[in-house]
Symmetry: C2
Subunit: 400 residues, 2 copies
Amino acid sequence: MLVQKYKDMLSGKSVIRQLSEFAAARGAEIGYENVFDYSLGNPSVPAPRDFTDRMIHLLATREPVELHGYSPSLGITQVREAVAVSLEKRFGIPYRKEHIFMTSGAAGALAHAIRLVAQPGDEILTFAPFFPEYHPYVDLTGAVLRVVPPDTERFQINFEAFEELLGEKTAAILINTPNNPSGVVYSTATLERLTNILRKKQKEYGHEIYLISDEPYREIVFEGEDAPCVSWFYDNTIMCYSFSKSLSLPGERIGYVAVSPKCRDAETMIQMCGQISRGIGHNCPPSIIQLAVAQVLEETADLKVYENNRNILYKELTDIGFTCVKPGGTFYIFPKALEEDAGAFCQKALKYDLVLVPGDTFGAPGYFRMAYCMETEKVQRSLPALRRFAAEEYGYPKRG
Amino acid sequence: MLVQKYKDMLSGKSVIRQLSEFAAARGAEIGYENVFDYSLGNPSVPAPRDFTDRMIHLLATREPVELHGYSPSLGITQVREAVAVSLEKRFGIPYRKEHIFMTSGAAGALAHAIRLVAQPGDEILTFAPFFPEYHPYVDLTGAVLRVVPPDTERFQINFEAFEELLGEKTAAILINTPNNPSGVVYSTATLERLTNILRKKQKEYGHEIYLISDEPYREIVFEGEDAPCVSWFYDNTIMCYSFSKSLSLPGERIGYVAVSPKCRDAETMIQMCGQISRGIGHNCPPSIIQLAVAQVLEETADLKVYENNRNILYKELTDIGFTCVKPGGTFYIFPKALEEDAGAFCQKALKYDLVLVPGDTFGAPGYFRMAYCMETEKVQRSLPALRRFAAEEYGYPKRG
């Protein structure tokens, strides 16, 4: 018989998916350039030219049997070394290849990180607003994901609620900074307070509480932002990285787990990733992508467009009268909807060809997400629609 | 705390891995060309030139944002379509894209296929000799892998033993033809008898028994061999394919699940694969590899070398006096060791720089595997060592 839990998941259709289907259908009618599709977090800037050149060079010069051969189960040795060297240079933490496990994107990294430390009966805490795919990542291991309600003032951490949920069963805390969907970056003060609590509770409970740090947006941080490295603050940190956003390679599925060298049993944990992999059929990310990415570790796509878009949208939204925390990174912004029911709000926006995602999906009802990874010209063209929508449906901006 | 089951797996060091480490170390001493390393199943012929050309063409001509963009969770639509068309043409079975799920190699395919139909409490049966990675694939889902002892006469199926193990709890049968490690191809008679039993037992138990067909060696079949398509025989068949061997791309991690169009709920099963994927962090195989492979579906690497090697080795082994079933495909041969303890036998072979793998690993003690994916010239150079080993250690060939 088919396994019911997967069958059941089919009925819960993704809101984001439905919205992007709407956008595609509407695009077919009026031209996709006229649909202001803020629903999907796909990078809109090309991968660095250098990545393409390195790929072509590998294909043109390397002997195919070697180039396309099996990667060792933890990743290609020189690729792991290059990642470790780059991380050490960047963050001053003495990573070695023994702390690096290459994965198929952040999804692969999180699937391994969670299995390292959590099993049925355990709890993993995360903070709203949060990436909804955390649910299947955690739920299908048999552990439970518990969501700490948001700090709606600043989208940092609601510490009161956090300390209420933290308990003996907490195996790990899963954070995402810069954050999808809020665009907010956790400050030094936030990370200090969080990790002080974790250190205290580790002692109290007599077992490790791991900090799983999901960092696909690490390289998209805007000017003047305090964006510290999570691994600086806490020894038992498992960094999960993806090159999807920094190099604009979401389809090529490449990332890594980097366990802090100060983490207890760090090297064993990386070895364990190889074993987890055997069970979930992960094996390795593709050899050629590993080799090419290792040659462009210090590069990114041209990410400036996201900051420009943030500036334009943040100004317009606040001018109109939206309540909105200013994003410090990513390509998301997460304003308060103009009515309590963000689902109804986003439904009305469709009339203006504005595709927005209700915050309910991210554990923050009453808010909505805009993914502004698109050409700046299109963001600008969307502003009149945004203004009309707020004015006609809600009478914004309100007169003083 | 770290999850103990993965930690425990670290102590069980792979015999194949240890042997290939020996081969590498010995190679550093005397030159790897002088070590007759029959331990590893890595393709030895290059990927088709056309694959390289298509990759370069994609990189040189396609807009990067589109080329490297997210693949839909079931695989790129036109790639799934191309696979379905190619399968229909090849096997006359009306596959449609709705029956195809793109995976990261056969490992990814098996991880999904097993999760579709098995959960804790269920049993999956496989036939010795078998690929040892079936254990983690099945064990880590909570289901149990039960191994049917080998038919040592022909390495087809030991039906008596099979019918004893088949029961109410059997959720699926996992077969691998052409087989690693025996090199044997299941005949029409074997598959007819197997599937007749399954049909009878499905009725008797009142639930489906799925046939999971692991087919990475499908394209490596030697002349004159009866090598029928498994999906012809049984409606509830889940085909798991990989391009690793046929296109010599093991490191690029590309394959698929193809559920038979006649399988009950076939399209639902493919949709379910997308949900399983969310939990194990699989997402999709890399976009560029999907696109390139879809353009060379009708091609293979030049696989003739494996048949030549089979001919040379089979002749030499039987001349020496080994008992040996003639392989019909793959690049493996699985003779009987010249003493009862195949581990001891393979240990002695190392003195002659012959790296052989004991059959215990594959559930067939007393046998050993030779992976003859190497240049024919090297196979030929290994023959004197093989002769000396058999003569000096065991007095083969026997006189009279």
